[in-house]
């Protein structure tokens, strides 16, 4: 597994932010809300959620928009949106450095930024990417070079309670046997990611004097 690192409260002005890296992929997520909402987006029974992903260079294209939509639908399921009717929650993700793991890094950054902002959630969530090499081995958290060589890549997002699948994104062909093998490997890796979250949060609350 690649090395995970995280710095909470990286931005001083947002409600919650996290700089997260897996290997050489780095993403910065910032969360604002629940707060003011545009009239057209106002829902009577829940908070409106917006996700914006900006790449490090150039404009956001169709690939980035797909990423946004995967993250949006994942987060929407986990946040207790019904607690804050007639509000909006904004998640902004900035790609800092790219090495093939954009989706899993941004999802994990979003989760920690939400935890940092203190947004109520059902459970945390963790994303793990893996790829299948032509020889049939599964690599967890591959690098860009390894991804180019691989047959297929799959990203799974798991919830923190029972490690059920929240979302699955896949590129390339995986038969059911390989699919389940990938799923199980990622599930095991997700446990480590969730333990890493716990450590980061423990550090946050033990170092912050106002909580003691």
């Amino acid at each position: 597994m690649a090395k995970h690192a995280c710095q909470l409260n990286f931005l001083s002005r947002s409600d919650g932010s996290a700089l997260y890296s897996i290997g050489n992929t780095v993403a910065l997520a910032s969360v604002n809300g629940p707060g003011e909402v545009k009239k057209s987006n106002r829902h009577y029974n829940r908070s409106h959620l917006e996700v914006c992903y900006s790449p490090s260079t150039g404009q956001s294209m169709i690939g980035e928009r797909t990423l946004e939509s995967v993250i949006l639908h994942t987060v929407e399921q986990v946040i207790l949106v019904h607690l804050h009717p007639r509000t909006a929650t904004n998640v902004t993700i900035q790609e800092m450095q790219s090495d093939g793991l954009a989706l899993s890094t941004s999802v994990n950054a979003t989760c920690l930024a939400l935890l940092d902002a203190g947004v109520q959630m059902k459970s945390p969530f963790a994303a793990v990417t893996c790829c299948l090499t032509p020889s049939g081995t599964i690599i967890i958290e591959p690098t860009e070079a390894e991804l180019k060589e691989s047959e297929a890549l799959a990203t799974f997002v798991f919830d923190g309670q029972a490690l059920n699948v929240l979302s699955a994104h896949q590129e390339g062909c995986l038969d059911s046997e390989n699919f389940y093998a990938c799923l199980r490997k990622c599930q095991t890796a997700a446990k480590d990611v969730l333990n890493f979250y716990r450590r980061i949060m423990e550090e946050k609350y033990s170092s912050d004097k106002s909580y003691n």
């Binding site: 169709i62 928009r65 929407e76 997002v157 059920n164 929240l166 390339g172 995986l174 038969d175 699919f179």
Partner: protein, 274 residues
């Protein structure tokens, strides 16, 4: 307005739930039964390949326009295939005027992903002259009427239209660097795989609905799409967020999808041969 309509307008959630309790859906289907599919090919005469597909009330038209382009330096012996999905406000009140929305973009990306994952086309087949000329297939999928399950309908339409494509023969004169197109002589393109998508809406842990309508999609929480090849093997699983699913449910989905693959591919095959 009948009492049922009033109920549906004021209490959409309980209205819908009362059907599910009886293992039915408001349109009379069971939870795992699918809507009838009709496929017509060659519906747009000015396009190089086209199809119209109806899945229940969802109507999708796909037109493929072939253009001659220059291959990129990175892959000098490959052509291009560019799927694009358009959702205009005329097909449903859910969609607004303006640049393509989230749903349209997600579907375009899904089609692109399936084509490359399943290796539907060998892109080198689209190359005419190495490093000089290659076909670029613009596949425009337009939704005429939206009633849920766009993924399945769009993929059926795209596959049917691709099988309908007839590319004119191109001869290239190397000395003068000129290409001439012979419209009289046309050739179909060979497809390596014929994937079929099956979408399920997850309503709760124990209730899943196959081939969802627009109402099912709004009431349920998230879709799961499994794409199978014609031999019934799993090609791609697509689950953009939504309700949690247990891994073993996927097996049930794949089993149900297998029957659909055969039905859809025979339907397209029959229409192509006519």
């Amino acid at each position: 307005m009948t009492t049922m309509d009033i109920w549906k307008t004021f209490e959409p959630d309980t209205y819908y739930k009362s059907f599910l309790e009886k293992n039915k859906r408001p349109d009379g289907r069971g939870l795992m039964s699918v809507r009838p599919i009709t496929v017509k090919v060659g519906t747009i005469t000015t396009a190089d390949g086209s199809s119209t597909v109806r899945v229940g009330h969802t109507t999708v038209i796909c037109g493929i326009k072939a253009e001659i382009a220059t291959p990129v330096l990175r892959n000098p012996n490959q052509g291009f295939i560019v799927p694009n999905v358009e959702l205009y406000p005329c097909c449903s009140h859910m969609f607004k005027i303006g640049p393509p929305g989230e749903k349209a973009m997600a579907t375009s990306q899904f089609l692109k992903n399936v084509i490359s994952s399943a290796k539907v086309l060998d892109l080198t087949d689209l190359c005419i002259v190495h490093n000089k000329l290659a076909w670029c297939l613009y596949c425009d999928v337009v939704c005429i009427n939206y009633d849920g399950n766009l993924y399945d309908a769009a993929l059926i339409a795209l596959m049917a239209a691709l099988q309908n494509v007839k590319l004119p023969a191109v001869s290239y004169d190397e000395e003068n660097d000129k290409a001439s197109v012979d419209i009289e002589r046309t050739l179909p393109i060979t497809l390596k795989a014929r994937p079929v998508a099956s979408t399920f809406t997850v309503y709760s842990d124990s209730i899943q609905l196959m081939d969802p309508t627009a109402e099912d999609e709004t009431q349920g929480s998230g879709e799961v799409t499994v794409v199978l090849l014609e031999n019934g093997s799993l090609c791609t699983t697509h689950k953009p967020g939504g309700q949690l699913i247990l891994p073993n449910i996927l097996d049930t989905f794949v089993d149900l999808a297998k029957q659909r693959v055969h039905a859809v591919n025979t339907l397209i095959g029959k229409e192509i041969n006519e």
